[in-house]
Amino acid sequence: MSLRKSIRWRIQAWHGLLLLTVIGGFCVTAYRLEHANLLRMTDHELELRLSALGSALTQGGGGGNGPPRGGAGPMDGRQPRGQGPRPDDGNLPAVANKPGPDDEEWLPLDDEPGMEGGPPRDDPNRNPPPKRDGRPDEHRGPAGPPPGFRNAQMNALFNPKDALPYYYVTWTRHGSLLDTSAAAPTGVIRPPADDPAFAKGIRTREGFREAFLFTPPGECLLAGISMAGIHREMNDFAWKLAGTGGSVLVAGLAIGWWIASRAMRPIAHISAAATRIAAGHFDERIRTEETESELGKLATLLDTTFQRLDTAFDEQARFTSDAAHELRTPVSIILGQAQLALSKERSPSDYKAAFEICQRAAKRMHGLIESLLQLSVLDAAPHETEVRSCDLADLARDHIHLMEVMAAEKNIRLSEDLCSSPCRGNSDQLAQIIMNLLTNAVKYSPEGAEVRVRTRLDAGGAILTISDTGPGIAAEHLPHLFERFYRADASRNRSTGGAGLGLAICKRIADAHGASLTVDSTLGRGTTFTLRMPPVR
């Protein structure tokens, strides 16, 4: 069996495909969820740091001069953004600007370049801030952020010793670099500030995730982190997912294979048994124990079918063997007589005797062949008979008449009791039943016996009975009486008796008509055959 056609392989293939889809879908979803989750956490961290940065900046920048930032500082104002439902950017100004008086706290840090002598007012976009070589402290010089800016909290939040440290960059409202943390990468560009007063946001840029914020005065604060960590974590997660998914897939396939094998085992069993039966072991059976399961029922059905086929084959073989046997005897006679006649010169009377014997044997063969042909026709097309309305009484009357000579020879009295019994059937075939039964009755009844033919009509249909007062038939023979080649009376000489097909033919004709043919007999009392036709509709 090719793999493509094997049910087991097809089940396995579909199972594998389904499993792959489910596991793949699950992995992709899990990966995306995890990615989103990681980003959200990162963003939260960034915002946390941004607000800390803002808070530190205003403390330090106002710093000097301004009052310490109270609880209503921008940090507080922004914190809820990281925790609560994230407001859209439009809300930010409202929050940021909520405390009107706080406005004054957002002092421009580098508003007066001349005053502070801050970093050169070059185009900040053109000139990246010196941060690696120029430590913020030193490059800021006196104009750097106030001393309190780098407090312990900031160091903890932007610890450059972390494997992937957070960094910050700040710009003045004019766009010049104010400050950067040690870990900040080069080339951090200030986010475009269309309306710096109200802008905040998160961006992903060349492998970095950055959150930025414009203070109301216009300074830009930016906190960022390399995406390498996220990528690495997502990579690990992807590998784990792939590993787990692969294992589940393999396990699922194995379990599927096992289930398919289990499910297919009875089929294989049935198939093997059927193969052996097909090879000629007709007595073999599937014999399943699980007769209640679907396959068990199938096996039982197949067993029943095989049993019937086996029986049919046996019957056929026995029939053929019997027929051959019946034909061999007359052939033996003809061959033997011819051989004898030809073996030497003989008198004309010897030849005549030989021919007579051959003729008898040939007639017997002829009768046998006719019977066999008739049976085979009845077997091949039992219902293809010409059906007409007829009357059993008329048929019986005609054939009783034909039997009178034979009955008279044995001094047998033929009596009739014929009521009109209309039925539908093939009158030739029904007449043959009557003739066969009558001939048997006369042939097997002793001298002086009586043979009685009755027809009548009852609610069930037309009925014909032929009874004799002969020796009767032993009960053990009755069930086999209608079998082909069965002879109840073994002592009967075969040259006078038929081949044992007459009653079989009668039965076959009755079956084809939907009629029943039954026998009732008592030893010493006589035998009665009853033909019961189906009712005429």
Binding site: S321, V331, S332, I333, G336, Q339, S491, R492, N493
Partner: protein
């Protein structure tokens, strides 16, 4: 030799009996199993041809019961081609079997072979001194010269030669050379013996007074 033919089909029985008679055997017939068993036990047949399908008692049963009493060679006649039937026949004590339709020449040859084997002869040629008997061709020679014999004379010669070295009583001769329908005329045996002595020499058959005849081995 005396042969019993058992067959229930009268025309076939007649054919077989005629064929066996023309082979020179004395033939009895039986049409059913019981008659066959009775005759087979009652008489010492040289061979029995037994059909399997018989009324009253089938051939296998007849054979089984016969074997409890006698070793008469039996050839089964069967129309059944199944190996099982043949095996069953041979196992119940049949010495040979032949299938219907029967070839009469083959049947005759098998009966001859059966009889020959039962008497311990391996060949169809039996030699006694100058005399040679060919049981297959049913002919005898004396010193290489063919001797003309009637059917009865040959039958007596073959019977005596097959029992050479033994005393054969007049009753034995009578019973094996005549069938059940022959009229008992015992002196006919003496006539045939007289004729055989004339053809093969007076010393060929010795008379043992009060016991019978004998041919020296």
């Amino acid at each position: 030799m005396r042969v019993l033919v058992v067959e229930d089909e009268p025309d076939l029985l007649g054919t077989l009996v005629q064929a066996m008679r023309e082979e020179g055997h004395a033939v009895d017939e039986a049409a059913d199993g019981e008659e066959a068993l009775y005759k087979a036990v009652e008489w010492d047949y040289d061979a029995i041809i037994l059909d399997v399908m018989l009324p009253r008692m089938d051939g296998f049963e007849v054979l089984k019961r016969l074997r409890q009493k006698k070793k008469t060679p039996v050839l089964m006649l069967t129309a059944r081609t199944k190996v099982n039937d043949r095996i069953q026949g041979l196992d119940s004590g049949a010495d040979d079997y032949i299938l219907k339709p029967v070839d009469l020449d083959e049947l005759a040859a098998r009966v001859r072979a059966l009889i020959r084997r039962s008497q311990g002869d391996a060949s169809h040629l039996i030699r006694v001194g100058e005399v040679e008997v060919d049981t297959s061709a049913r002919k005898a020679t004396l010193g290489g010269q063919p001797v003309a014999l009637t059917g009865r004379e040959y039958a007596l010669l073959e019977f005596m030669v097959s029992r050479r070295g033994k005393i054969v009583s007049r009753t034995d001769l009578y019973e094996h050379l005549h069938d059940e329908n022959d009229t008992p005329m015992s002196n006919l045996v003496d006539v045939h013996v007289f004729n055989l002595r004339k053809k093969f020499g007076a010393a060929f058959i010795t008379t043992l007074r009060g016991q019978g005849y004998s041919i020296e081995a």
